[in-house]
Symmetry: C2
């Protein structure tokens, strides 16, 4: 059986990392800039981020949070207060040292700008905002009556990355960071878990990604955290992506920043704080999870456009009539809603060859394409193409039937993407018991494809931090999480140390 040519070269199975770059290019979602490690998020990629923002923001507000905005720059002295945190981010901080430029005329007539106005205390561009928000919280909190503080910030952050990759790992990225302060440890832990669950549900229901929720081991915790909860997605090369994290910070940052309050017993106490975040990395995760060899496939819930209407205009004299019919259809569709939002519908009226136009939207991953021509107007029908099922997804439908069923059709696509991703995850998740099995699972079968390996290994574990580090170094495999859920609770013995264990953990290679 010969394969049809694919729009993306190379195919996934040939070179997954390169395929990923090519999908982003073909879908026109982002590109590298001349600023080291920084990307330009193009309108199609940013439209996706806007929907993620809007939908997550609703969930944050439903759980009692409000948005605020804190300074981009962090004084070095703030970082110095929490040693573990400072060391965790020290190697990736962009440092501002001057506050003006001087234009120097060069002998060749050009102008050169020279930094001047050196700062007495340099600043770093926030890699994350625990320290600067902690300083604000310290000012805001006086008594237990001022707690809890439930704040979220939508912002850009910067972590100087040595090996940047579009969306997954860029020097600058966009994210949200929740920061909360509480009177009691219990309340702060409950908050950490609530937001962890918000992420897991958002990934599942909005992004169609069945990420595994769990705790991080000590080695993999956020610098300065007492506990880190994560959602770990499996993507199509069977690697894991940490898609979102929620941290219980104990009193560590409260002590560093001085977030103290007068308690109910009239004693001065330190607050318990949390922080939690997801970023534009979610877009990279979606691409690796859902795209195929023809380009992006977007989950309808977050697609910038869920439906694109393509007027078929073979003759100039019927062109206007067809375009009017398409606009009218778009208008009707926009009165329908999906996930509590009006349908996002675009009519592509550009006068370019139909095949090229069609392929453009395939590569961009629009869930539904509708072709409508002169004969369809007469017969009150439409050609509907589902992106998720490929060439066989094209169907002629009566217009009325389509309108009546469009919401279910979109939900069906959403469900199908989740189902496919869940099957992939389950197919490549295995309970293993011995070091030999473990090694075989993660050893590439084929020297030409160094990336190919087993997937998620569920292992009994009772090793030390050093054992973890050795596995990470020798096999590039880490514990992604200690998963929640009864299905992982089980008595057994650690595959490495033979010590008793009562729960399996998830090992995988990761981005």
């Amino acid at each position: 059986m010969s394969q049809a040519p694919s729009a993306i070269q190379p195919r996934r199975e040939e070179d997954f990392p390169e395929w990923y770059q090519q999908v982003i290019r073909a879908a026109d979602m982002a590109e590298n800039s001349e600023v080291r490690g920084c990307m330009v998020i193009k309108p199609w990629g940013y439209g996706l981020w806007e929907n993620i923002q809007k939908q997550l923001d609703v969930k944050f507000k439903e759980t009692g949070h409000v948005n605020a905005y804190f300074p981009l720059l962090i004084p070095l002295s703030y970082l110095e207060k929490e040693a573990q945190h400072a060391e965790g981010f020290a190697t990736e901080c962009a440092v501002v040292t001057h506050h003006r430029l001087e234009a120097q005329k060069q002998p060749d007539g050009t102008t050169k700008m020279i930094p001047t106005g050196e700062l007495a205390e340099p600043y770093v561009i926030r890699p994350t905002s625990e320290t600067i928000i902690g300083a604000a919280f310290a000012r805001w909190v006086e008594s237990y009556r001022d707690l809890p503080l439930l704040i979220n910030q939508w912002a850009n952050v910067m972590r100087w990355e040595m090996r940047p990759r579009l969306f997954l790992r860029t020097a600058e990225f966009l994210w949200q960071e929740g920061h909360t302060a509480h009177e009691t440890e219990e309340e702060a832990i409950a908050e950490t878990k609530t937001m962890h669950q918000v992420y897991a549900e958002f990934l599942r229901n909005h992004l169609a990604i069945p990420a595994i929720p769990g705790e991080k081991t000590e080695n993999e915790r956020f610098p300065g955290a007492v506990n880190t909860y994560t959602v770990e997605a499996m993507v199509q090369d069977r690697k894991a992506i940490q898609a979102g994290t929620s941290h219980f910070l104990g009193q560590n940052f409260a002590k560093a920043a001085g977030i103290q309050f007068l308690g109910r017993d009239n004693s001065r106490q330190f607050a318990y704080t949390t922080s939690w975040g997801v970023s534009t990395r979610l877009i990279g995760t979606m691409i690796m999870a859902h795209a195929d060899d023809d380009g992006m496939i977007l989950p309808p819930r977050v697609a910038p456009n869920q439906i694109v209407i393509l007027p078929v205009t073979p003759k100039p004299d019927t062109r206007q009539e067809v375009i009017d019919a398409c606009e009218a259809l778009a208008k009707t569709l926009r009165t329908h809603s999906f996930g509590n939002e009006p349908l996002r519908v675009h009519v592509d009226k550009r006068d370019i060859p139909g095949g090229a136009r069609n392929w453009e939207w395939i590569k961009k991953g629009v869930p539904l394409r509708i072709e409508l021509g002169p004969r369809d107007i007469t017969s009150r029908s439409l050609a509907v193409s589902r992106r998720d099922v490929g060439p066989k997804g094209k169907e002629i439908m009566a217009k009325e039937d389509f309108l009546q069923g469009v919401t279910e059709l979109l939900q069906d696509i959403q469900d199908a993407l989740l189902k496919r991703a869940t099957e992939l995850r389950d197919q490549h998740t295995q309970k293993l018991n011995t070091l030999e099995e473990f090694k075989a699972f993660f050893t590439p079968k084929n020297a030409d494809k160094p990336e190919a390996h087993g997937g998620f290994a569920l292992m009994h574990w009772a090793g030390s931090n050093e054992d973890e580090e050795t596995l990470a170094k020798d096999m590039k495999v880490t514990i992604r999480c200690i998963p929640m859920g009864d299905e992982y609770a089980e008595e057994g013995t650690c595959f490495l140390t033979g010590k008793p264990s009562s729960r399996r953990v998830v090992f995988a290679k990761s981005y």
Copy 2:
């Protein structure tokens, strides 16, 4: 007649700049941070910005624009390409020179972070993004078919301010910056004017600010622009605030960045570009325009909450009943809409004294406060207080009447704020003809109040750039704009030079 005590000390007429700071503090909208010139935007201030964003974003999309995101950092070499632009921003650029920190243990046991990893080419944090977006446009545009590019970015920018003032002038601020590229000069000028009008209408209809739209003189143009359009608001101390600008950039930035395309005639041509922006400065403008001696007064269109419901619970045994009635009322109100958005209603259930609670919302400027107690449940009535009319604005209303009329009531408040601001503006705008009149208008009448002066002077003008600079230096008065509209067109002679003039310009002191 003795005055009632005011919530804000000092009053506007006593010390306007200090009154402004105190309103912000009383309304809990923002505060200074320890980062020089950078503010923390607190939830009540940020909620206002979220509404401004959401409502402007709709207008940007209606006019064909899409959002995207470009790097925070700009290579110095980009700035060097447009000399005028570079010189315009050189003195206020934060410069990134290093990309890591090294933790150094100090003899006293503390840790000090030292910048290391010096960059071969430093970056500046964007003060505005013409240069970096221009570089992207140069990559994206090949033929006239790729034009127009109609892009907007919501972002933070940084301009190192020597005399920062919350919202009005901060080192870091939030804004949107539109950047567009066009095939022809006419099209780019039309875009510049369209967005200028979008701003003028938004200020009038959403922020209740009757800003005067006009062109800037050459002296006051954006560095590198061919023409700058502005909207100039008068605030309560009669000074002007430049609230938004739209720039026609000609081919200046296209030439600097190399935005070239193959034209319809097959020749290589430079695009014409525009840029336009408004920022969190709009919040400062609203405060100075609308607040009074009791605190903020919010235009209902953008208020974070338009209505706050205050349960009156004199006795514990009816407390729950009252709260339930308040929640039910809030739920009903949220099904109503204003300006195409569901009403934003908050029930303040905190168990604090009613007077303190009431004053908090007065100071925050919520348009409508509703008190509801046990007797109101029986009588199906409410006490409704309008923030804009002060103590006499309290009225007992039948619940049904209130619900039926709430949208008109909010519109009435919106209109009243605009009317009041328009009256202020018109009352302090004068056509003057001589230098003597001009000097008298702008000379403080009272040595104790150095800020008090006339307002907007409409003058015939035909002076030189140097004449303008002299007036700015000697009298702190500048030409705010050459206003549009027939009412300013009129033959006359320049008050300074005696040369003929066919239009009056607006002179004012400004922020």
